[in-house]
């Protein structure tokens, strides 16, 4: 529901009154933004959102009766156009990605100046489905470069190569001069690391992850 006037209607959710007061003052200064409601818990927030139908929801992550990420998911499911800004004291890329995954429009740390929260709220109202966060690029980069893929030990790489070649466990064991049970353990560990349930899946995963040379001549 868009408001009839051009003012932006905001609901603040944070269990710390001083935080809400500070943000309300910052929003009030803008002139074209009105804080129409405040809530200090998920329950209050849900009823306020139902009642007030704001343009933007600004929510803390840690709340007494739940977390803002869950609230975001819940709100987003029923309302694809509401702007949602996640505000948090938690650090770490996980929080950024959790907010992104939940369908938030923006993510602001509580160390940032109030203006940043206001800017995020404006952005959220304008493009609720375009996620913005400070250092998002950095976080993405880190996620990409983090040792995300499964890390196989040298021995497991050897076993994997032989698995891809289609050797049976007994053959692998003989080839690598290890006992069959050891080979089985290695294979089980490889499956576990690759999230595979069987040999075919393991081979697929290994090829997809670039763990084996798939153009190897067989």
């Amino acid at each position: 529901v868009t408001s009839t006037t051009s003012t932006l209607r905001v609901v603040l959710v944070d269990d710390h009154q001083l935080i809400r007061e500070g943000l309300r003052r910052a929003f009030d200064r803008e002139g074209d933004i009105e804080v129409v409601g405040e809530a200090s818990s998920i329950a209050e927030a849900l009823s306020a959102l139902e009642r007030l139908k704001p343009d933007v929801l600004v929510t803390d992550v840690r709340l007494p009766d739940g977390d803002g990420i869950t609230l975001t998911t819940q709100v987003r499911a029923g309302n694809p156009t509401m702007g949602i800004v996640v505000l948090t004291m938690y650090a770490g890329d996980d929080q950024v990605f959790a907010a992104l995954d939940a369908g938030a429009s923006g993510f602001v740390g509580k160390d940032a100046p109030a203006e940043e929260v206001v800017a995020a709220a404006r952005h959220a109202a304008a493009s609720p489905r375009a996620f913005t966060a400070r250092d998002l690029a950095g976080a993405m980069q880190r996620r990409m470069s983090a040792p995300a893929g499964p890390k196989l030990s040298p021995r497991e790489r050897e076993v994997l190569d032989l698995l891809v070649d289609g050797l049976a466990i007994a053959q692998i064991a003989r080839r690598l001069y290890i006992s069959e049970s050891t080979a089985k353990t290695h294979v089980a560990n490889i499956y576990e690391k690759l999230g595979a349930g069987n040999r075919a899946q393991a081979v697929m995963a290994a090829v997809r992850l670039g763990l084996v040379d798939d153009v190897k001549s067989r």
Binding site: G22, D111, S179
Partner: protein, 622 residues
Amino acid sequence: MKRRPGVDRKSEPVGGNPTQRGVNPFTFDRPDRTIHQPGVSQVWQIVTVAMLGLRAKSVFVPLALRAGIIMIFTAAAVVLKSIATQTEGSSGFDGINKTHIVLPALLLLGVAALASLPIPAAVPPFIPALAETLTAAVIIGTQGKSGLLFLPYLTIPLFLAGLSSGLAAGLACALLAGATLAATVSSTGGPAAEALRSNDTLIAWLFIFVAVPTVGAWIRRIRSESAPDSEPAYTDAHRLLSELHVVARQLSLGLDPRTLAAALAEDIRAVVPQAVAVVLTRSPGGRFVALAGDEPEDEAEAAIEDAWLSAQPVKREGAGSYFAAIPVLMGERVVALVVVTTLSPLDETSLRRCRAVIEQSGPRLASAMLFDDVRRLATTDERMRLAREIHDGIAQDLASVGYALDDIRRDSDPQLARKVVAVREQLQAMVADLRMSIFDLRTGINDTVGLGTALSEHAQRTGGQSGLIVHASIDESPKRLPITVEVELLRIVQEAITNVRRHANAANLWLTVTVEPPRAHITVTDDGLGLKAGRPDSFGITGMRERARRIGAHLLVGPGPEGGTVVEVALGTDAAIAHEPRQLPRPVVTRSALTDPHGIPTIVPQTTRHGATPLADQEVTK
């Protein structure tokens, strides 16, 4: 002693005050209290219920017992009296007629009935016993010669006094009973006094009065020794924890599983000189990790698995060597394995000797491992609590002050606004720092996230969020270190990175991690200001040293090649290597291109350490 029926107990506050009860000397009838205590073993509850069932009936048992004795003596007196009158011989029953026998018997029955009633838990059990003794003594004493027939009745309360309250209370009761008896008999005078005055009788009864409570007290002692305590689980836990507390306080390493495991391996080598012994335990992820010694050959894996599952020693032959995996048992549970590798098969005698050694130190090792785990859990709990406290308290307050400053700035003239901005920036840095502290406190190691991953993620995030360029090089074996070791290493590196972030004013941070259980080697290098006297992170370094010492690692803090600082942790490597910095692996940046968020070619620390600058100017060993 009075038995209170089980239903009465419900009025007692549940849980009560176990400590107080534990020291209460009048807690003979303990077992039924356990029904109120949660966590007591099932078996014990069943036993308790069975005993309570008996006891519900046994409200009448004391009465029946007393009444029985009274009846027997009444009947005996009547029979003897008839015999005496018929034979006209002995005059022991002179002055007694049958009706005289009935009166004290009835009075004593009344006493017996009263004494059999349930008494409140708050009353010490010797009080009813004493009351019964004295009342019975008065009745017996005042009823003349026929009363004296019932003297044996006194043995019941006296015995119970000794049984319920110990020797002192029992003897006191006996003394008071004797005095009361003497006073009442002599005041009434007559044949009874004469009968009592006859030496034989007097001595005999004195002896009985002393002997009965003594026997009661003796039985009490035996029963209290053999009877399980009221809350066996808690009592055992308390005793164990007390011991642990003492040991943990006395020796900082006394309960360290790695030290104990190393000692155990040493003991095995003393028994089988040519053997290589490894102490393994199972990590939460199901992998076997070495507590002491090198990981055994892959060939031993089957033996290890079998020994763990069967809780029996398992011998296997490998290529050129022989393995014996012997479980370290704590009760029925396998807590660790000792793998003995030999060049010739281990003979039965040696195996028996090994088992004897292991049996001896098994409980100690198990306790140490348990203690380690308890400490880890407690620490994690406490860190989470701290994180919550900072998050909900000071951090929010500072953040709201920041918003207030933002507000003030908007109202200020440009000159004041500049000052406010400066303060605001400081505050922002403070809040950012608190956010990192909360992050640090919440970061942990678990079954799925190993040390290398945790370290790398932590370095990337902290670095990324504080403007440091992080170059991480992780070489991690799929084998895991014991989780407690991983946690300590993580905390050491966290502290090192925090120091760089806060104090070093560095642009780059190099993290190298090599984990090859049971060894690990980690360096944190920066190109910042380097160590200076009085740098405020000395407290942090002390903490790092303590952590390193706890896991038996070497910690070295020294000037880095780029003018910054190097923090180096070496676990399980030879002390000689740790002392020889030149032989340590360089922080080679293998993944710099990947990890540099700016895509700028990174400065690889040159291997300048062969030169004049020694790596370490400070060094800590175990």
